[in-house]
Point group: C2
Chain length 234, copies 2
């Protein structure tokens, strides 16, 4: 990333650096309530500026990869995760984002499924945080995460993105829990299930989830487009 030893006169001469960062969301059960909540992985900065603060996974754009490929590699490198959804969020290019060299960051946001997220290993310098319990992050990354959350909340309401958080088969209650976690409010189970059943992009299987201490719920499958993201390029 930025070179800390640069001074102001150097700064004026260098072209803006171009970096890719990624906000990665997954759902994990809350320790207390056991209900799903939004988590994301961050990396500890080992260099100045903002040394020892947590930051979004990111890095420079390599020569021979597209922006989206760079974001995907990014995910792979820092957390070994394969996203089920990946979309460009925004390009941040304010003058004072970094105290040293000017950096323009093209930020992506991603969703990962719980089985994939479970594989992610935490290390000294990679840790998962609850999205609503972040401390102060490096650079403008708090702002970026807030914006990504805003986009997630919007998108969950008018698209089928919620299934990117779930495995192949799921109960309607699990879908509802995704919505409740993202929107931060409880939804009427009866009305919610009707809305889902009216949607054309899920279908009932003839399997039921056993093991609860109540009537076993039916399992459903997502039948809509499985493309991991969208944008102007299709």
């Amino acid at each position: 990333m930025a070179v800390y030893s640069a001074n102001v006169s150097e700064r004026r001469q260098q072209p803006p650096e171009l970096a890719i960062s990624t906000v990665i969301f997954a759902l994990r059960p809350d320790a207390d309530s056991a209900r799903p909540t939004i988590w994301l992985p961050l990396v500890r900065r080992t260099r100045q500026p903002y040394r020892d603060l947590w930051a979004l996974p990111g890095g420079p754009l390599s020569q021979e990869e597209s922006l989206q490929d760079a974001a995907r590699r990014n995910l792979q490198d820092t957390t070994s995760l394969q996203p089920s959804y990946l979309e460009q969020l925004y390009a941040f290019g304010g003058l004072d984002r970094s105290p040293v060299q000017r950096v323009v960051s093209i930020v992506y946001w991603a969703l990962v499924k719980p089985d994939v997220a479970a594989l992610a290993r935490e290390t000294e310098n990679v840790r998962w945080f609850r999205a609503d319990h972040l401390g102060q992050l490096a650079f403008d990354h708090n702002q970026i995460v807030d914006y990504a959350l805003w986009r997630l909340r919007n998108k969950v309401e008018y698209s089928s993105i919620a299934y990117a958080f779930l495995g192949e088969k799921f109960t309607l209650a699990q879908v509802r829990e995704v919505y409740e976690a993202v929107l931060g409010k409880e939804l009427d189970p009866a009305n919610f299930r009707r809305q889902l059943r009216a949607a054309t992009d899920i279908e009932a299987t003839d399997e039921y989830l056993q093991g609860g201490r109540h009537r076993p719920p039916r399992l459903y499958r997502y039948t809509g487009s499985t493309s991991p993201g969208n944008g102007p390029l299709g």
Copy 2:
């Protein structure tokens, strides 16, 4: 922009170039029907690649300006226009956008009011085109315009962006014509006016537009936020 003389081995060594481009929309009356249609200014390329093809206004990012300022300067330089709305569209970074050096373009889109657009002077190398009558443009600019149009159509339906196309005072029929031009379909005047009057962000003046050959319509004024755009930074 890109340096045409670069060869492949040079290309691999240079970092990706960072450029800003802007899609500028204005409404102009169609010559035949006299109804408003969407137009945008393009600039003729005077250098390779894509010499003599039309392209979006754009240029490199200067050292000491934010992305949005660069887009605004861009508008000013090529068309002398002040936008009434300006928002980031997308960052395009595919490997083969330019046949020479790799270019990452951060694209903005803008709306201008008719009085402002009327001031724009056409020159040998700057001309306005109907958005639905563009020929082949340079680079991937057809794709970019299509995406900008898609965003415009979406945004007009859930935000108050339409007023950015209009002057200070306007009739409800003029607002309807904006929607019809953008959405490409006719709307019921009676129902449309009810929807607008239910909205809180316009208010009636006590003036009427004289000069038509029918009952003079009342003029209204937009009272909502006048901020020329939005994004994660507020």
